[in-house]
Symmetry: C2
């Protein structure tokens, strides 16, 4: 056993607008020998997720803000290299929130040991991890689509959206997915979307509404909201009576240095008796066993596939994160660390 020098990405300055290189700094810290009850872990994969943008500003939210000068945090899968904790031995795979660094030492308590069951370890940052459970819980427990209903998914080629589309198909829904650019549209078709909207071809609330109305001529019943702005406008226009909006995120808003106004058609909520409801993945933590059972079944049956966009090396993590907001990823955006 020995201390490991670990490179890490720190918050250099709170971003205004889209994060830039100046938002991040590369540093080095030691992952010391583990103490009693601790493990020493080398990270193999780390996740970058849009929600992390919210932690970069100094505002109280459902997770506390990152501190300037300190390493960022986020989901990571690593391998135990040394352990003084019962139940953990070298070679074990663990899921932690200690991403954005190559190695770390910390308490084993609360750490999730991964049994890969034939899945690649990074799948636990995606389809069978937080994004997968977000998709599953948000669609089934908040959106609650019925068989035969139409589900509209924005950012449908992303880590969460692509799983939402496939769960909706597995539940017998018609699925309309929105994404930007021909490659993503092709991907949406490959995962079973019945219709697609390339939002880059339909700029502005009215144009997007028209495109959605054409893709969903019978209207939509559930909107899985990842984007906000014009997408929310279009969805509100196209939602049917008693439609539901499962609000997972509004990525179009996260980098606004000045908050952007909301859609001008919120009165649709009244006449159509819409339900617009927010959620985060932790809301479903008591249902995790159901999620694992459902997802294992779908993956086993070939009903759910997943895609990854991989950046190589810790030093690429800031770029991977920034590129999330540029829509550079298909499927789960990951950084490979080892």
């Amino acid at each position: 056993m020995a201390a490991i020098a670990s490179r890490e990405i720190r918050l250099a300055a709170r971003p205004v607008g889209l994060p830039t290189d100046a938002t991040f700094e590369l540093g080095t810290a030691d992952a010391p020998d583990p103490g009693d009850g601790e493990v020493q872990v080398k990270n193999a994969w780390m996740s970058v997720d849009p929600y992390m943008r919210g932690r970069m500003i100094d505002v109280k939210s459902y997770v506390p803000p990152f501190q300037v000068g300190q390493a960022l945090e986020g989901g990571a899968v690593g391998e135990v290299v040394a352990s003084k904790a019962d139940g953990f031995k070298p070679g074990d795979l663990v899921l932690s929130m200690n991403g954005w660094r190559e190695a770390w030492t910390g308490p084993a308590k609360g750490l999730q040991k991964i049994d890969p069951r034939g899945l690649p370890p990074q799948a636990f940052l995606g389809v069978v991890g937080m994004p997968g459970m977000t998709a599953w819980g948000g669609l089934l427990h908040v959106g609650r689509p019925k068989e035969g209903e139409t589900v509209f998914v924005s950012a449908a080629a992303g880590a969460v959206g692509s799983i939402v589309c496939q769960i909706a198909k597995a539940k017998g829904c018609r699925v309309v997915g929105s994404a930007g650019g021909p490659d993503k549209i092709k991907y949406l078709k490959s995962i079973g979307c019945d219709a697609t909207v390339d939002y880059k071809q339909h700029r502005g609330a009215r144009a997007l509404t028209k495109a959605l109305a054409e893709a969903a001529p019978e209207g939509i019943d559930v909107y899985f909201e990842n984007v906000g702005g014009d997408h929310l406008f279009a969805a509100l226009q196209c939602l049917n009576m008693r439609g539901r909006v499962a609000v997972c995120g509004m990525i179009s808003q996260y980098n606004d240095s000045e908050p952007q106004p909301g859609p001008s058609n919120l009165t649709q909520i009244i006449g159509k008796r819409l339900r617009v409801e927010g959620f985060i993945v932790f809301d479903f933590i008591d249902k995790q066993a159901d999620f694992v059972r459902d997802m294992a079944g779908w993956i086993g049956a070939g009903a759910i596939k997943w895609e990854e966009t991989v950046y190589d090396g810790l030093e690429k993590a800031p770029e991977a994160f920034i590129d999330l907001f540029k829509g550079a990823n298909v499927g789960k955006m990951l950084v490979k660390l080892a």
Copy 2:
């Protein structure tokens, strides 16, 4: 029996922005002798309600649009003067949607006969009518406050809002009401509001938020939405975790010739897991017996009082309607016809 000449208010032109005198025209029609199954009725009271603005434009909604050149419609209480319908006799009081006119003849089928039980007939256009049931259903079945929670009500001095405040108090909630001007604030205190916000003293989303935060230092749990715009922004900022927005109306938006943008803080819905849900009074029609029982109990116990703002004569109906949007009413806005 004889035909009655009846003055009526017709839609002269679809309004753009706030309706004006030019929106309306006064005409005369005959209320003929009733045929088989018909009654002839002289209206005593008619209602003006904000939702009628939506019917003045040519857009499909939950009620069909008014037609230019034809008499407007709306709630009215009248007295049967002649009847060829079983179960209806002269002197009976009836509730109909044949407002905006002094008299009418039509089928008795679907007409609601009123048993006043000691209440003034116009109360059936207010506290025990549509506004009362809107308040009751929206608060209890959509907002679902628990005892001890804080309920925020906008347009709290209006026909619906003033009843919402009192039901919330009867249910053991802390109530914060918003209205414009010292007279209305005084009225809100008289009906039991624990705190008040005079929005005319706090213009703009940020100022209104600050005022609401001061009036509700522990945050709000339910927002009964009648206004939209800055009020919705302030409510979203101040809502507690798992708060609910019962969306009844957005009167600040109804006269916009160009739709106004929504609040810029819709992302609050995610982290706080808010539920924003629209409704209209018809949603509670199968619960009408519960409403009548609850409301009769509260009125009998003195827990619910009501106020009226009365304009005299059919020719004043357009002014009464326009004044709704200027906030000229305390409690139910009514036009006395006879």
